[in-house]
């Protein structure tokens, strides 16, 4: 009985430690995850781009979303028309969600919902 209670107490302490860590991370993030999701929620489609293609998109006059610069390492998130993105040779479609593929990309082109 005591062993079972000890095991339960250990699990409760572990969960509390994990929650403390989550709250601390959230505090440090200062809402950046919400702002990132908010930008991505407006995106109908997403395409991974390499650096030079990302530069081309920016040079064509499409602005990078500010939340991208708040991440470390910084990420370029650029809304552009689908046709303009598909002209870029490195454009590679990816699901719009917080996947490792999207999170590890340095440049993501986004197509906005109409």
């Amino acid at each position: 009985m005591i062993d079972a209670m000890n095991r339960r107490a250990i699990k409760i302490k572990q969960r509390a430690a994990l929650r403390r860590w989550e709250y601390r991370q959230r505090h440090y993030a200062r809402g950046v995850w919400f702002r990132l999701r908010r930008v991505l929620a407006d995106a109908k489609e997403a395409f991974l781009l390499d650096g030079p293609d990302g530069d081309r998109l920016i040079a064509a006059g499409f602005a990078s979303e500010r939340v991208g610069s708040e991440l470390a390492p910084p990420k370029r998130l650029v809304f552009a028309p689908r046709e303009a993105i598909l002209e870029l040779p490195s454009a590679h479609p990816v699901a719009v969600r917080l996947s490792p593929e999207l999170l590890s990309a340095s440049c993501v082109a986004l197509v906005r919902f109409a």
């Binding site: 989550e22 959230r26 995850w33 919400f34 999701r37 908010r38 991505l40 929620a41 407006d42 109908k44 699901a95 719009v96 969600r97 917080l98 919902f113």
Partner: protein, 152 residues
């Protein structure tokens, strides 16, 4: 058929959605389904990592009882129920939702918007409504709610 089944479930005075029991408020809502009420209960009590406790329902004369929301798959399923409710939501329901949203505390308004963005990022789960089909609707709703905040 699926739409009719959902409507029948929601027409009950007590809604049991994925383990989350939503009791209709004493004040009868305008819509026959009180869909807005259920949506806000789920939004406000479902898994925003940002907000916990202080259920919307307490202030609005209703209760959202049952199992407490939990992180992980269970919490995800709660949000996917919302995706299913979007399938049957009418324009009037969404108007009502936007109207009720404005009456919430800032913290809960943030929870609603945060949970909408979480819903928009979710992958489909087996035997649950596909949230990717509702992304356009979620984006439009987010823009609408954001305009209520005075944001562009």
């Amino acid at each position: 058929m699926e739409r009719a089944r959902h409507r029948n479930i929601l027409a009950d005075s007590t809604l049991l959605l994925n383990g989350l029991e939503l009791v209709r408020p004493a004040r009868q809502k305008r819509g026959a389904l009180a869909l807005t009420h259920a949506l806000i209960c789920l939004f406000a009590n479902a898994p925003s990592r940002a907000t916990r406790g202080r259920p919307y329902t307490r202030r609005h004369g209703a209760t959202a009882s049952g199992r407490r929301r939990s992180p992980g798959a269970k919490g995800d399923r709660d949000l996917l129920v919302v995706a299913g409710m979007f399938v049957i939501a009418s324009a009037e329901d969404l108007d009502e939702l936007a109207s009720d949203y404005r009456s919430l505390d800032p913290e809960l308004r943030y929870a609603v918007r945060s949970n909408l963005t979480v819903l928009s990022m979710m992958a489909p789960l087996d035997r649950m409504p596909d949230p990717t089909q509702q992304r356009a609707q979620v984006a439009a709703l987010l823009r609408r709610l954001q305009s209520a905040e005075g944001e562009p």
